[in-house]
Symmetry: C2
Subunit: 183 residues, 2 copies
């Protein structure tokens, strides 16, 4: 089986390929950008994106939207995580969290759409805490400042955990189950 | 002359009415919400919004988009100013600016669209600095933390200045000039 993944993020592409390849599902990169709607709901963003890309590509496509939702910051940076990171970086999050609770959640939603069908979505989430400084040199994005619940190292210090238990992997597993039942 | 203003912000509606009413231009509120595109360019957001609302209302409509662009924060919060304010408030901006340059710019863009035409845009900007604490009790939004260049009080302390020299007033003046020439 082959799915076409519209993303501008090579790290996400690799995470999908590494998990789904051994399951016999080829993930091919699709170089189509799409407008992301403004919403605090990643499922709406993923569904809208999948529908748009499917209409353009005339193929079964997937898109993915993720965000870091920090409890004490009213779910900031949420669905604008990438944009906020480009503007204020990890240093900005550390400043905002000084003296505040550091609990957070990573959320992902995968949208899949077949030509002629409405999009479906598969969500995943992982709870954890934001560190007080960057820890670890592997990974990307916020891997170096996020420690998932049940662990004491960041994803950047322990990429094996991220490869098996992340928000994205949780969503990919749901997608995989659905694909097996709906070949 | 009558223009229909699609906005969810009563303060903006009043600023338009107060300035344009004496010029013989009635600004009537239009209760149509519209999708705001994701862009760092307020002119694109305003043009897109005006086109959408005009298509829905079948009338000559205006919309307006504004943002606070802080130099040392890579133009954060920019076109997401309202959303960021809801999440982290003035306290969040003060934390992010601790020890940094506080120069900033307010930008507005008004989009106007007549049925059958492409939208036009009129922009305005005012430079200033962000205070270290809220000052003044009048106004709304970021009025209490912004001191425009050439003054020593915030807009919340001196609403007369905001009523005659703001980013929004600068854009409204351009719109007015255009309306006079294109009745």
């Amino acid at each position: 089986m082959r799915l076409y993944f519209a993303t501008g993020n090579k790290n996400k592409l690799l995470e999908f390929q590494n998990f789904l390849g051994p399951e016999g599902i080829d993930i091919e990169h699709l170089d189509i950008s799409y407008p992301e709607i403004r919403s605090d709901d990643i499922a709406k963003i993923a569904a809208s994106g999948a529908k748009y890309v499917c209409f353009k590509a005339k193929k079964t496509v997937i898109v993915e939207d993720s965000g870091l939702f920090i409890n004490s910051l009213n779910s900031f940076p949420g669905t604008y995580t990438k944009w906020v990171h480009q503007k204020i970086g990890h240093d900005g999050l550390f400043r905002l969290l000084e003296g505040k609770d550091r609990k957070a959640e990573f959320r992902t939603c995968i949208g899949i759409c077949k030509p002629g069908d409405e999009p479906l979505t598969f969500s995943g989430a992982v709870k954890g805490t934001i560190t007080r400084e960057e820890k670890g040199i592997n990974g990307w994005g916020h891997d170096s400042i996020f420690i998932p619940v049940g662990h004491d190292r960041t994803w950047a210090e322990n990429q094996d955990i991220k490869a098996t238990e992340s928000h994205r992997i949780n969503a990919i597993k749901k997608l995989l189950d659905w694909l097996k039942e709906n070949k």
